[in-house]
Symmetry: C2
């Protein structure tokens, strides 16, 4: 291929980095694709690193050694996070979202790529990729968000099913008590889906009493694996979380049943 | 903010475009963020457009008029598509994937962001964003892929449930006949999830007899909406698709039960 100008090279490198979040890319890959010396590519990367940091758009890390290279770590500035959390609160502060049984309809938000891609960057930046092997979620509503976090951290997604599926092969199934309803429910995970001794982060749309999180902790034990973090879009602060431990959220919601109002605010992490 | 160099501006613009696939962004947004004249930004965009096209990394369209601006349309070159399809075939050509009941275990692939993000670009480029209102899928395994297609096309994702959920409010439920098992199953969709007269594309992991696709077509009719396309990762070519019409796939798979072998090849679109 003909030689490209620096302007053109930085565009191509930026694009490739964005598409490979938290994955190490050797400089020779860029060097071959763009027909430029490694030293030239290194200079290009300095430019990209500087502008991403200046505009708080994430950062680039250099990994030394034979398997070394660079990796892009998605990020978002404090101001942008705050703005996003406030916009989300505005969308949630809508009483028509209340559905019978003290539930909040938020499917439209959870399936909106514009919202979920940004929430995914915020939640992923709360965890260190090097310390996470899998992002775990339970079907269905949290899947797009969990997928975004997994993509940003460059790790595999694992989806726990509510029932046994023929396409999953052998599965491990546990019973757990839903903190909200008090009823016994099931969770099922394919034996092939996880290596032993893995560190997992649970991502979901909504945290109520934390019964699901507790169930996941127990299910992961069956895989000799560990739950190292929990991140949710919305934390229902009205419910006492005695069933779960530490977790992170973007917004906090409280539904006051008596007056049918919704109180929604950014979480402390966002302010 | 201080003025940035062209090198730095093109990095920032590229990043913003990638994060807003198929969404029109007015030049004044870049102009304000980067403290540069619109004419300067226009020149930056010419550079980005040229290198993306040269490296077959998608394209930039200019939209004229008051609500105009530019938008990025993700794309992948023919060679890269082919290579990806061949790698996918290699991964699928593994007899340990066969699970009892003539099913193929492919959960690991469907939940792998590296694979799904590329497959999402390939499938999204087969549809015109301007002619799609929603990407529709049915829980669970196809959700990450459907989400990627929706993100690339800049449209909302809609997930059809197998059961009624309390958090969904009022739903429309239909019965359909699974083409594979011959059994009657249910699909359920929240009434709030779709505007009438919408055009929808159905994305899924695996197409067998097409019973699910036919069910979705009928369910969409209840929303006065239309199924305008079907895209899947794997087409089970061993099964006669009498239940469905046109569809697109990335790879074709045939499981020969007698010898327990898997025949997997790129679809015609990929060659």
């Amino acid at each position: 291929m003909e030689k490209l100008s620096r302007n053109s090279r930085v565009v191509a490198i930026t694009k490739i980095l964005m598409e490979n979040s938290n994955r190490i890319i050797g400089l020779n890959n860029f060097s071959e694709l763009l027909n430029a010396a490694k030293s030239t590519i290194s200079e290009d990367i300095v430019i990209i690193r500087e502008v991403l940091e200046k505009l708080q758009m994430g950062r680039i890390e250099t990994i030394a050694g034979a398997a070394g290279g660079i990796k892009y770590i998605p990020g978002i500035g404090q101001e942008d996070s705050k703005k996003f959390a406030n916009e989300l609160c505005e969308l949630l502060r809508d009483e028509t979202r209340i559905v019978p049984g003290n539930f909040i309809y938020m499917t439209d938000l959870m399936y909106n790529p514009k919202i979920i891609s940004k929430a995914g960057v915020i939640l992923s930046s709360m965890f260190k990729a090097s310390e996470v092997d899998y992002i775990v979620t339970v079907e269905t509503k949290g899947i797009p968000l969990a997928y975004e976090v997994a993509r940003n951290l460059g790790v595999q997604l694992v989806i726990i099913r509510r029932d046994n599926k023929v396409t999953e092969g052998s599965t491990v199934t546990i019973n757990y008590v839903s903190g909200t309803s008090g009823r016994i429910q099931q969770m099922s995970l394919s034996k092939k889906s996880m290596k032993p001794a893995s560190k997992c982060v649970f991502i979901d749309d909504f945290l109520r009493a934390g019964g699901t999180a507790k169930g996941i902790k127990n299910l992961l034990k069956e895989f000799d694996s560990e739950l190292v973090g929990i991140g949710v879009l919305v934390d229902n602060v009205g419910v006492n979380k005695k069933k779960t431990s530490e977790y992170l959220s973007i917004v906090e919601l409280q539904h006051i049943e008596e007056t049918d109002t919704l109180e929604v605010n950014p979480s402390k992490l966002m302010s």
